[in-house]
């Protein structure tokens, strides 16, 4: 699973991650950090040729994490739950901590916690169960210091399954909370 240490990636892999985010996510173009004023454009300063650095020099570009609209793609967006349970599993805590850190780093970042259930049971009751899961995640993030204004817990019940099989493996994939950034 995801390791928190990857949040502090080397410059090189941060750039790779950014590239992935840029291609595969819904980051809006105008929000893409390519126009980031804190980054320095790649290019060779024609005036630098004579001041001792040599023409083969490379100036490193640093993408500041605080400018991302979403956490790096390496941070999972889904946490899973046991059957009939709303307890956040130990392995999910690391994921939520990464999200909490990211949310606290930017006060205008907003996340929607989308609770889901497996297909067993009535639609409306499952909607309430999914809400209970989303609410459990909301409370955990609050305890980690994320403000209420930055999060909303909602439920999709059993209406949006991640897996459509009628077996326990599919059910396990469906009992989840997805973290969606807005």
């Amino acid at each position: 699973m995801i390791k928190l240490s990857r949040f502090h990636l080397s410059v090189a892999s941060a750039a790779v991650v950014l590239a992935l985010v840029g291609c595969g996510s819904n980051v809006k173009l105008e929000e893409a950090p390519v126009s980031d004023s804190t980054a320095t454009a790649v290019g060779i300063d024609p005036n630098a040729a004579g001041n001792g650095q040599g023409t083969g020099g490379v100036r490193p570009v640093v993408i500041d994490e605080s400018k991302l609209a979403e956490p790096p793609a390496s941070v999972a967006r889904v946490v899973y739950f046991d059957y009939d349970s709303f307890l956040i599993k130990p392995e999910a805590m690391g994921i939520l901590e990464a999200h909490a850190k990211f949310l606290k780093a930017g006060g205008n970042r907003r996340v929607v916690l989308q609770g889901h259930t497996d297909e067993r049971g009535t639609r409306e009751y499952n909607l309430a169960l999914g809400q209970k899961r989303a609410e459990a995640v909301r409370r955990a993030l609050s305890l980690m210091g994320v403000s209420d204004a930055q999060q909303e817990a909602v439920s999709f019940g059993k209406e949006k399954p991640a897996a459509t099989g009628a077996d326990e493996a599919s059910f396990a994939k469906n009992r989840r909370v997805e973290l969606a950034y807005r």
């Binding site: 929607v112 009535t122 009751y125 809400q131």
Partner: protein, 426 residues
């Protein structure tokens, strides 16, 4: 069955009845013996072949689906209209207690004049009739009105054949809210959406639906005027908004909101949009269901550790637990007379429709399927519509309260679910 037994040959005739034959687009399943059903005959209508709808078939299907009537084969292929003096002795030999005759005439303005007369075969009495001038598109409704006329004459209760149902289908990446005749025919699209639609609920006036839509990436409640398609967002509070249930006066609705974390029941004023919290449990309270007759709200709560059905005043306050058998009881619906509760219980890995007599708490399981959902009563309380799976396919079914007469309604394409039976309309 509690059909009024005002027919003298009724019991004898019904005991000898074979399983009802299948007519038309649907199949009526009959289980059990000794059913008391009123045998009826329908003669071919004069001019009936001019109509684009099989009026005689619609009447026959409606009456059979009620569980209170049984068709006898016609004694003659000769058509009999509303002015005929039929030879009732021939129909009496076939054990028919009642006979429908009529005609269809094309009018100069393009409409059709559907006329009919009903005969009491046993007493040889004329039970009256009507003239129904209708547009071609409304021919089915003329059939349903004839069935309602016969039903009311013979049982003393209002028929539900002219009422409508709402349901949802899913297929091809599309979610569709439908409105159809009570027999499942004449389906019309009210809403198409790329996102799920659940919990349709008829307004008491029958001209609007409320439902939960996920079109804004979270559940919110809309009301939807059917004739105009005009929609109003009536509950879009932070968190989830679901389980709409109109108050009998149509001015407010109960809904499940999550303003304080978990799902709780609120009353939402439709004029002002303001909300008022009715339940205060730490857990889940949802699926409110109004009984105007009892002046109570039934709902589902997990306050006892597992979902059970409770009831309370429409103003909230103390709740009384209603279901005690089983560890998962949800989706309550109360009959209009307040005597019967329909709900879904989990049995093993299956979900089954149950009915509880609220006067003595006797429970019966009335289906042999295991994926039952969303029960809803017909406005005369004689039938329940519900969704289930039959032979692996989604189906909408109607059943009598004793489970003996079931009909699978003709279905549109794709998964079909979430039925709600509309009110009587003027």
């Amino acid at each position: 069955m509690t059909v009024r037994l005002n027919r003298r040959h009724l019991l004898g005739a019904a005991a000898a009845a074979p399983l009802a034959p299948a007519w038309g687009q649907f199949r009526v399943e009959v289980s059990g013996v000794g059913l008391t059903q009123i045998p009826f005959g329908v003669a071919a209508f004069r001019g009936g072949d001019q109509a684009s709808q099989d009026l005689v078939g619609i009447v026959r299907g409606d009456l059979e689906r009620s569980g209170q009537f049984r068709a006898v084969p016609p004694v003659t292929q000769v058509s009999l209209d509303e002015t005929s003096r039929p030879d009732l002795a021939l129909w009496r030999e076939k054990s028919a207690d009642v006979l429908l005759t009529g005609s269809v005439t094309r009018l100069a303005d393009g409409r059709f004049d559907v006329r009919f007369r009903v005969w009491d075969v046993v007493r040889g009495q004329d039970l009256g009739g009507l003239s129904l001038p209708v547009r071609q598109a409304d021919l089915r409704s003329a059939g349903h009105r004839m069935a309602d006329y016969i039903y009311e004459k013979l049982t003393g209760e209002k028929g539900i054949f002219s009422t409508r149902i709402a349901y949802v289908t899913q297929g091809g990446g599309k979610h569709t809210l439908w409105v159809a005749d009570a027999d499942g025919e004449n389906g019309q699209v009210a809403l198409n959406s790329p996102e799920p639609i659940i919990s349709p609920s008829w307004a008491p006036t029958g001209n609007q639906l409320a439902y939960v839509s996920f079109e804004s990436r979270k559940p919110v409640i809309y009301t939807h005027e059917l004739v105009t398609g005009r929609r109003r967002l009536v509950a879009n509070f932070k968190g989830s908004n679901s389980a709409p249930a109109w108050a009998p006066d149509g001015k407010s609705m109960l809904a499940t909101l999550t303003l304080d974390g978990t799902s709780q029941i609120y009353s939402v004023d439709l004029a002002t949009g303001s909300q008022n919290r009715l339940t205060r449990s730490g857990g889940i309270d949802t699926e409110p269901c109004w009984s105007a007759k009892l002046g109570q709200v039934f709902f589902v709560s997990d306050r006892g550790g597992a979902p059970q059905i409770y009831r309370m005043s429409p103003q909230g306050g103390n709740a009384e637990r209603v279901t005690f058998q089983g560890v998962y009881n949800t989706s309550p619906a109360v009959s209009p007379d307040g005597n019967t509760l329909a709900y879904i219980t989990r049995v093993g890995g299956g979900f089954k429709l149950q009915v509880m007599d609220l006067r003595n708490n006797a429970i019966s399981s009335i289906t042999d399927t295991v994926s039952d959902e969303s029960p809803s009563f017909a406005p005369n309380g004689r039938l329940i519509i519900y969704a289930t799976k039959q032979q692996g396919r989604d189906a909408l079914m109607t059943t009598t309260l004793d489970g003996r007469i079931k009909t699978r309604l003709a279905s549109a394409q794709g998964d079909i679910r979430e039925p709600d039976w509309g009110p009587f309309v003027a």
